[in-house]
Structures are given as C-alpha cells and as structure tokens.
Symmetry: C3
Subunit: 155 residues, 3 copies
C-alpha cells in the first residue's frame, strides 16, 4: 500500500538525503573552523554566519520541494532541488574563501525556489480544474514542467 | 493514485505556500534593512533577531500543522495555520516599528500551536479507538475540530 | 482512504509531537533565563546558543526520520527518533548546567542520524530491486532494521 506512495516520492527522498549530507558537511566545516582558529575569530564568524543563512532557508526549501513534488511530479521537483543544492554549495564555498564577497544571501537560489513555487500553484490549480471541469491537463503540465526545469541550468 | 492523496492535503499546501511567501517577505525586509542602515545597526539587529525568532519556530509549526492535517482533517488545520501566519505577521511588523516592544517571542502563537497539537493527539487517539473497538468517531471529532477552530479568532 | 496512510505513520507523528513538546520546553527555558538573569548574560548566552544548535539540526532530523519511516518501516524510525530526542535532552541539560562542558554540538546524535540515513538508502535500494527483479526483500530488511535499532541503545 505505502510502497505505491513511495514510488512517487523516492526521487524527493534522494534529494533530501543529499541535502542532509550537505548539512553535515557544512556543520563539520563550522566545527573544524571553531576548533582550529581560536585566535582568528573573524573566519569562524563568517563560516558560522554562512551556515546560519543556509540553515535558515532550509525548511522553506524542503517544504516547497516536497509540495511541488507531491502536487505535480517528482522528477522536475527533484531536479530543481539538485540545482538549488548546487547553488548552496557554491554560495558556501565562495563565502568561506574570501572576506570581500559578502553577499547577504538570505535569498540565494531565488530562481529555483520561484520555479518550485510556481509548480505548486500550477499543481493545485490543475487539481481544481479537474474537479470542476473533469479535464485533466496534468500530463501536458508535467511535460511542460520537466522541459522548463532544464531552463534552470542557464546561469 | 497520488491525486487522491493530494485532494486531502491541497489546503495544507496552500497555507505552506503562503508561509513561504511570508518568509521571503521577512528575508527581503532584513536584507533591505542591512543594506540601507549601515550606521543604524540597532534597527538591523532588531529586525534580524525577529526574523530569527520567526524562523526558529517555523519547522515546529510546519510539522504540527501537517501532522494535524494528516491525522484528522485538513480544513481546521489549514485555518489554524492561517491564524498563526497572521499572528506572526503582526509580531514581525510590531517588532519592526518600536524598540520598546521587546516581547521575547519564542512562543508567540502558543494558542494556535496548542490547538494543532491537540488535533494531532485526538486524531491518533481516534485511530487507536477505531482499531480496538471499531467505532469511528472521526466525523464527530472533525465537526468539533472545525467548530473549535473558529474559537481561535477570539483575541 | 487517508486513514490507511495514517496507520503507517502514526508512530512518526507521535515522535514528532514529543519533539515539539521538547522544543517548547527549550524555548521556555531560554525565555525564563532571559527574563530572570538580566545581569548574568553569560548564562543566557549559553542557553540561547544551545537552543540554536538544537534548532539548527531539527529540520534535518525531521526530514531524515520521516524519509526513513516512509521508505522502510515506521517502528525502527520512531524508536531511533526517540533515542535522538533523549540525546538532545541530555545535551541541552548538560549544557545548561556547566560552563566547562562546551561541546560544539553541531553534530550530536550523529549515530542516530546515520542509522536513519542508512535506513532511507536501504529502503530506496530495496524499492529499485523490487522494480527490477521482482524480489521483495522488504520483510527481511525491516526485521534487520528493527533489530539494528536496538543497538542504538549501547552507549
């Protein structure tokens, strides 16, 4: 019974696992920085702040990705999640490297999150349409979403 | 198959989307405050602290709302979620306005969260009752929950 | 319809509720410390920092526990969740008591999280195996997971 549901979410689970690994990587970096550089507190401050920024937007990201995956289709949602994780990695590593690069970063990965947000809205809209008129545009919409997710790769 | 499940959660998804929009609004406020008032750091500190308080309780809120919606019924859970988002908005805007109003705010929206919490417990209790005795009080309980959620509006 | 799904997750919901209660307990501690000891700011700083560490890893914990419970079986996942909550309680109380004990704590409960992580991977791997070969090792794997979760109690 439940395995039918799991078939529809296992890509989302995979991306969630990768994000957990990334969180662990970030936490390890912060921990090591805190231990090694007791004198150089500014480096620790910076890494810790970056980690905080990343963790602040983490629940939001998880919620939007899962909603998008459940409402419409898991494949484009999982792909967008991967792109987001890539952007986060780039943001974290870039932050660690140089002091000069002080992007506020509360809203990095804006494009990916907006895309997932749109997917949710389209999914719910589609559900209401199906209820009212009985026409199912879901296949069409899913194809468009999968194609549109490829656009996220354009920098 | 999955669309049957989605019918039972689309109100929860909608409230989640609204909360994500609110998060984005908070983050934008913090970002703008950080850029504009480099001299006036106390304002930035305050907004940033408020944002942190809001984000700290965000995963808790999401977890309780989804559990309540899944265990019992989505309509009262989504309504309580909306009331919580309203309280959060009021808290954030009030915090930004005046320095004097320094509510600790770790536990704002206590009443709504307690209500959602109760809904979860009632839902699980109901499930166990159904398993043991075969009586289904779910319809009665759902009606009571929907009626009780209107009580949340009383200030 | 949905009640069939709820049967498979109600243990996870229970553990989530317990974790929410713990969050409320932590927040109350921080609030009281902030009110009572205005002079003694170091104590407040410490409790607040501990609370932050706990809340930082909270979404990660929730995500891993739910994925493990959905992919494989809820009983060992919920048990591992309980063990994690116990470790968190011990960490928080120990942090409050003494200044000397300054464990970084970004990664407390590493063993439990790794176990849940492994459960997810095994669950997804099992799903793929079932798809390709049609053999269902799920019962065997679930038994092993339940037995392995008892190993978590060894300190």
């Amino acid at each position: 019974m439940l395995s039918v549901v799991v078939e529809h979410i296992f890509l989302l689970v995979l991306v969630t696992l990768i994000s957990v690994l990334q969180n662990a990587f970030f936490a390890t970096k912060v921990e090591r920085e805190g231990k090694e550089h007791h004198a150089n507190t500014s480096a620790f401050e910076r890494v810790s702040c970056t980690n905080r920024n990343c963790m602040d937007s983490y629940p939001t990201f998880l919620a939007v990705m899962w909603c998008a995956g459940l409402c419409l289709n898991q494949a484009p949602a999982a792909f967008a999640g991967l792109v987001y994780l890539g952007a986060r990695q780039k943001y974290f590593v870039g932050y660690m490297g140089q002091t000069s690069q002080s992007t506020p970063g509360f809203l990095f990965g804006k494009r990916v999150l907006s895309f997932l947000f749109l997917m949710c809205i389209v999914g719910i809209f589609n559900l209401l349409l199906v209820r009212c008129f009985g026409n199912d545009f879901k296949d069409t919409v899913e194809t468009i979403a999968t194609a549109a997710s490829a656009l996220l790769l354009i920098p």
